[in-house]
């Protein structure tokens, strides 16, 4: 089953600014003044182009606090 288009969700209650996500996914994430990830696309939860899905999964696995998640584009946070 194809998971369909994915978006990046940061659980801010967990994120402590480790920064590995922006290192592994610089196309979509930068770091702010304090080392917390910030979307480069202007979207709250940036869409992940198919070409970057592998990198996005690696970034998700690299987060020591499990704060980064790939979610399907349908499950928008309210």
């Amino acid at each position: 089953m194809s998971p369909g288009p994915q978006r990046l969700h940061v659980d801010w209650t967990r994120c402590d600014g480790h920064g590995s996500c922006a290192e592994l996914l610089p196309e979509l994430l930068a770091l702010d003044d304090w080392g917390f990830p910030v979307s480069r696309t202007g979207e709250r939860e940036p869409a992940v182009p198919a070409a970057l899905e592998g990198h996005a999964r690696r970034a998700q696995k690299a987060c020591p606090l499990l704060a980064l998640r790939l979610i399907s584009a349908g499950t928008r946070a309210p």
Binding site: H9, V10, T13, D32, W34, F36, V38, S39
Partner: protein, 389 residues
């Protein structure tokens, strides 16, 4: 103190008799037809909120009144606690709620509503809770009611899916509950007979000023949605030449310049100004106060009220407030103005709750509405302070 201006419904002080019981379908149809929206701030259509709740829910009345300038829930629970309970019980019966709770903030006396609960042997559990500005945020409140720290949760799992006791949870503001109590008795046509077609009914306005001179009679007033801001100020005896601007919606709200005094207090009436009625806060700024100094103080308060959980909020809000405070000193470095703008844009959308967004919205509004005053400060002047550096 209660002001008198036109439409008294919630504050009429009448005995409305027992509340009717509704089925789930009857409830949704009625609320849908009425056009009732949440009076707690977000203004979400109440029918849609009810419809989105799963089976066997927990119903929570929200009277935390975490918004510093809001006093309406306190007044309701003092003068019409029965209506708030009615609203909760109507929802509880229609939705077959497993539990029904009423969260009462620390600034509010829970005595009258507890007395009502005892008299009518209501199943509603009243909880008197402390907590700051974000304590009334839905997920923070649910966490608190569940015995966890009152911190907002990740919005990926909304409380309408998993809230108190892990059950679908419907959180409804106390005023919305009281509106529902009257709507259930008198019907949608009655409800819509005041207000605007797009934004019907009445709402409670908490009216305050930055000085006694600019708002001689602060208090809570019930008005029809769409009532011009000017009429609300008149009811409090505001001498308009003394006013500089009006903050609408609360500390997460929007400054309106005096040129906007004819704006109707409704969603569509305030939309051109980027504002919403929010939780009904109207706060008048005295001409003699520096608007940048006042706004910097509000931003600092909001920074201190961060739940301390999300990095961009914990770090960004104090920096933003501090930068605005430095800009509020006449003769400030001109680079501070674009820096405030950069910071307010930077924190948006980057928190578990809306606190960074709301604070950024307020700061952006400050920079927009007081742009002329910012320029004066950069020239070393402040007409409010009557001095130049």
């Amino acid at each position: 103190m209660t002001l008198t201006l036109a439409t008294q419904r919630l504050l009429a002080g009448l005995d409305h008799g027992p509340a009717p019981q509704l089925t789930a379908d009857g409830l949704v149809d009625l609320v849908e037809a009425s056009g009732l929206t949440g009076r707690g701030g977000a203004g979400f259509p109440t029918a849609r909120k009810i419809r989105s709740i799963g089976r066997g829910p927990v119903v929570v009345g929200n009277a935390m009144e975490s918004e510093f300038l809001s006093h309406k829930d306190a007044l309701l629970l003092r003068s019409a606690p029965g209506l708030v309970l009615d609203g909760l019980e109507i929802l509880a019966v229609a939705l077959r709620a497993r539990r029904t709770l009423l969260a009462v903030g620390h600034r509010i006396d829970p005595g009258p509503v507890r007395e009502q609960v005892a008299v009518r042997r209501s199943p509603v559990e009243v909880r008197h809770l402390d907590g700051g500005f974000v304590a009334g945020q839905e997920s923070a409140l649910v966490n608190r009611l569940d015995g966890r720290p009152g911190l907002p949760g990740d919005p990926l799992v909304p409380v309408r899916k998993r809230g108190v006791d892990g059950r679908p949870t419907l959180v409804v503001n106390a005023e919305t509950l009281a509106q529902l109590a009257l709507l259930a008795r008198y019907g949608a046509d009655w409800f819509r007979s005041v207000g605007t077609p797009e934004d019907p009914g009445t709402f409670l306005v908490s009216l305050t000023g930055s000085s006694r001179e600019v708002v001689p009679r602060p208090g809570v007033v019930e008005v029809a949605r769409g009532t011009p801001l000017r009429d609300v100020l008149a009811s409090a005896g505001t001498p308009l030449p003394r006013a500089r601007a009006v903050l609408v919606g609360g500390y997460h709200g929007t400054w309106l310049p005096l040129a906007a005094l004819d704006a109707p207090l409704s969603r569509e009436g305030l939309a051109p100004y980027g504002a919403t009625p929010g939780a009904g806060v109207v706060h008048v700024l005295d001409r003699r106060a520096c608007p940048l100094r006042t706004s910097a103080d509000v931003a600092s308060y909001l920074a201190r009220e961060s739940a301390g959980q999300c990095g961009p909020c914990v770090n960004g809000l104090p920096r933003m407030a501090d930068t605005l405070a430095r800009l509020a000193v006449p003769g400030a470095d001109p680079r501070l103005a674009p820096e405030v703008q950069r910071l307010q844009a930077l924190v948006r959308g980057r928190g578990a709750c809306a606190h960074p967004d709301g604070t950024a919205h307020f700061v952006a509004s400050t920079m927009r509405v007081f742009a002329g005053h910012v320029e004066a400060h950069l020239r070393g002047e402040c007409h409010a302070l009557g001095r130049s550096a």
